[in-house]
């Protein structure tokens, strides 16, 4: 695990917000909403995996 995941999530966030704005400008509100939701779910899956790793590490380190 490295720093690249931070940049990955930041890039996803920026790209999704740009897509969101473009879609809203062209009058496709539902698709903009869907893009936001998809980006959020993708990032949430990455974050959930990392949180699981963190909790496993803490559990093994502190001998639960």
């Amino acid at each position: 695990m490295g720093v690249d995941i931070i940049f990955k999530i930041a890039a996803i966030g920026i790209v999704v917000s740009i897509l969101n704005q473009v879609l809203i400008q062209s009058g496709r509100q539902e698709q903009a909403m869907m893009t936001t939701l998809a980006g959020l779910v993708i990032v949430l899956m990455m974050v959930a995996k990392q949180i699981m790793t963190l909790f496993e590490t803490v559990r093994t380190m502190f001998q639960f």
Partner: protein, 128 residues
Amino acid sequence: MEIAQITGIGLIATILIIVIKNQKPEMAIQLSIITGIVIFMMVIGKFTAIINLLSDLSKKTNIDTIYMTTLLKIVGIAYIAEFGAEICKDAGEGSIASKIELAGKVMIMFLAVPIITSLLNLIVKLVN
């Protein structure tokens, strides 16, 4: 110079979070979670050495290992509860954060029960 690395990661992540926060606050929260995890993973190696030192010391001084493991468990619970509560607080959910803290306190109290019991037994024995 690991500390320079960690500070750099923190500063860069902060700037990225501020950039994203205006457009997508939910993404910013996830970014801050990941930053916390990455920084924790960087220091975890040093922490293992400290824990090994503590357990060596307790072995040398014949302290019961139950106390040592309880202590470590309490530190772990406190860390996890603090991690979650701070993220909830950052997202503006102060009430959920205080519930997580309450749960952490209850768990710590529950783990400390055997120690408190043995202490009380000792006191009762002394009094009688």
